[in-house]
Symmetry: none
Subunit: 427 residues, 2 copies
């Protein structure tokens, strides 16, 4: 089964934007046996879009179009599809009613312009959108299904999931591609690849073959395993064995094989063990606290955080002695440890984290260049302190520092040691 | 002049890869007056690619194809173009010779398979590739130029630069596309569009026309203005006038017209006025502090932040009276204001911000549903407190709350009032 994915919007034809929706759509379509043969970004131009849809109708089993369903003149997806299918657009009063209610809930009157969003090509099925004003649309022409979805990911994703289950999977009948992702912290990509290549190389030749891709996303290494099989159960069996073999080879550096991010993994570990945590951050400036609290329910274990950006704040908020800062410098292991111990004592939590470093671009010295970060994790039974030398710009240093603090916490809580990390500084 | 950019390769149709070559190509083509109307990623399939090229020939002034010029069976770009143009492929002995030399220089014999790379559609001009084996090709059909370039960026980029200077710029007639972006906070997309459409509508007809796109990125509205002009100076003049007119229409809700994000704008305002800031966050969990400290040099004005996730932390860290929390609830304007005043007093800063709300998905009530957020900004001369009702998931609520706090700070510092914000709750 062949799929075509179209993203509509002139803004995605500038040098500043990439279409990322198509990655999610590809993954979900692959899983139910659709092979994506073409994806395109099309300008807000009814002629262009009509031409591309016309072309895809000749071969595609499904055409998924995202974007161009808003209320403005620029939003031409409905019109383009109606033109290609040579069908009129009718005003759907039920959609108008839902839009009115949505605006009323915020104490606003629906602008007249939003009526455009209620125009439906005749014969289309309206797909409810729980998270926005633009409903989706489902149409069929010959063997081809045409799916129109809004562009914002949080609106598009749940709508696609529903469609996959109710309409697209039943139509496919193809060999699905099934995936597992291992996420790894604290190691270099080339190092991981050298170690696991002999392991995954042989999987391409088995009855249910697995192809493997290694990917470095920021400082997180991911191994993507893809099995092609008629049934999910067959794929799951070989993938399960493959994951076990990779976990065995890579040890504690693997932090998830089910898609969870590191802050979720750490949160789950804390909740299972009824542990609480508090954090004191300097160079990460609140990013660690923000990532920890991105997880729903994190108020169960996050008690507080402080961002002690100034030296005075380090002393006042977590009791770092002024003379310690003078002697060792604000970016030092003693200060990181004092921050962790200080926040832990004041918050009365099981775990305290301290992070201090130089995020850049300014502030580096020969001895402590930009990217130098000291991280301390103080627990009920143990204290771990490390100094890292991260590469990259300010954002990258902040992310890596928060990631390393989370990883150190994970390893301490699970009583594991991952050995020396690749970005760790030799002291 | 209209351009189409095609990337060839099934690997870019997996969930893991995006085509980034097209961003570079777009930027270079825009600068010499080509408007990119369509970009697509096509599988390694001669039928698919021929169909897409055929479609683009109908309207494009230039079609830039990257990838599919390697020596293997999968590399089908040459064949697809020859088929569409109905022209035979000839072996170019000069290319074979250069390939042989290239291999010989490394002490290797050229594999027979590489002869494929010397197959040239009749009538094509061969474009030398200084950094790889695949030469590029230039063909013309009617008014359309077809450019075939290798996929690896370090091979493609210098070849495109040469082509731009020698062939593409002279054909274009020299009208370049020049851009400005206005960013807007605190208003709804449809509302902004209704207000500015009468303003920007007329610009499409002037001597140096400006096209305008409205875009909602999270809760931030962007107006992208693109002027087509022979010379940058002409474009800049009309864009400057357009920006002034839009600023005049939209008032204080426009926070930048030079690409700066809100945290950068706020940071610049604080630095100019030598003001300092400290923040007390509950539901945003450190996100506001993290965004403020994403800005290089923010240590000049960010003194500290606290994340008081528990009620105890609110009392201990910023002195919110327990009885105030009991009486009004932790999510209330009095508590937000007490947090802002408390952190300001303890940090000794000019400005204090307090944010308390329900990020969800749990914790909502009928009176205070998920998305209810109270924000207070306390300054030297003024206090502003507002309650918002945000839509969306946890991440969205966090982002919007931080964005609103930044925007309230910007408006207070500039002594502006933007009137009631669209997401504000009636109390």
């Amino acid at each position: 089964m062949n799929a075509c994915i179209l993203a509509i919007g002139s803004e995605m034809l500038t040098p500043f934007r990439v279409d990322t929706n198509s990655l999610f759509i590809t993954e979900r379509l692959n899983a139910i046996g659709y092979d994506v043969r073409l994806k395109a970004v099309v300008a807000d131009d009814i002629d262009e879009l009509a031409r591309v849809i016309e072309g895809a109708l000749a071969w595609a089993d499904v055409i998924v179009v995202t974007g161009g369903l808003g209320p403005t003149e620029d939003d031409i997806t409905r019109d383009a599809v109606a033109r290609v299918l040579d069908t009129p657009l009718d005003l759907d009063e039920a959609i108008v009613e839902r839009l009115r209610e949505r605006f009323a809930k915020r104490g606003m009157t629906m602008p007249e312009i939003n009526r455009r969003q209620a125009m439906v090509p005749r014969g289309a099925t309206v797909l409810p959108n729980a998270n926005g004003t633009a409903p989706g649309l489902w149409l069929e022409r010959g063997k081809t299904a045409i799916v129109l979805l809004p562009g914002p990911p949080r609106e598009m994703k749940p709508m696609l999931e529903t469609l996959i289950g109710e309409r697209l999977a039943p139509r496919s009948g193809g060999r699905g591609l099934f995936r597992r992702v291992l996420k790894i912290a604290g190691r270099a990509e080339s190092d991981v690849d050298a170690q696991v290549q002999p392991v995954y190389g042989k999987w391409t030749k088995q009855a249910v073959p697995i192809s493997t891709t290694i990917l470095a996303v920021l400082v997180q290494i991911e191994l993507h395993l893809t099995a092609a099989a008629e049934h999910r159960a067959d794929a799951d069996a070989v993938l399960e064995a493959a994951v076990a073999e990779l976990r065995n080879a890579l040890g504690a550096s693997v932090f998830s094989d089910d898609g969870r991010n590191l802050e979720v993994v750490v949160g789950d570990l804390l909740r299972e063990r009824t542990l609480t945590i508090a954090v004191a951050e300097s160079c990460t400036g609140g990013l660690l606290a923000s990532r920890l609290t991105d997880v729903p329910g994190s108020s169960d274990y996050v008690e507080r955080g402080v961002v002690c950006y100034s030296n005075r704040a380090k002393t006042e908020l977590v009791g770092v002695p002024e003379e310690m800062i003078r002697e060792h410098g604000a970016v030092s292991e003693p200060v990181a440890q004092a921050m962790a111990a200080g926040i832990r004592a004041r918050a009365g939590t099981n775990i305290g984290i301290g992070i201090t470093g130089i995020a850049g671009p300014g502030g580096g010295t020969a001895e402590k260049p930009v990217g130098t970060v000291a991280v301390a994790v103080v627990g009920d039974e143990e204290t771990r302190v490390r100094t890292f030398q991260f590469l990259g710009g300010r954002d990258m240093v902040k992310f890596q520092a928060a990631q390393s603090a989370l990883n150190m916490t994970r390893l301490m809580v699970t009583k594991a040691s991952a050995g020396r990390e690749w970005s760790e500084r030799k002291n």
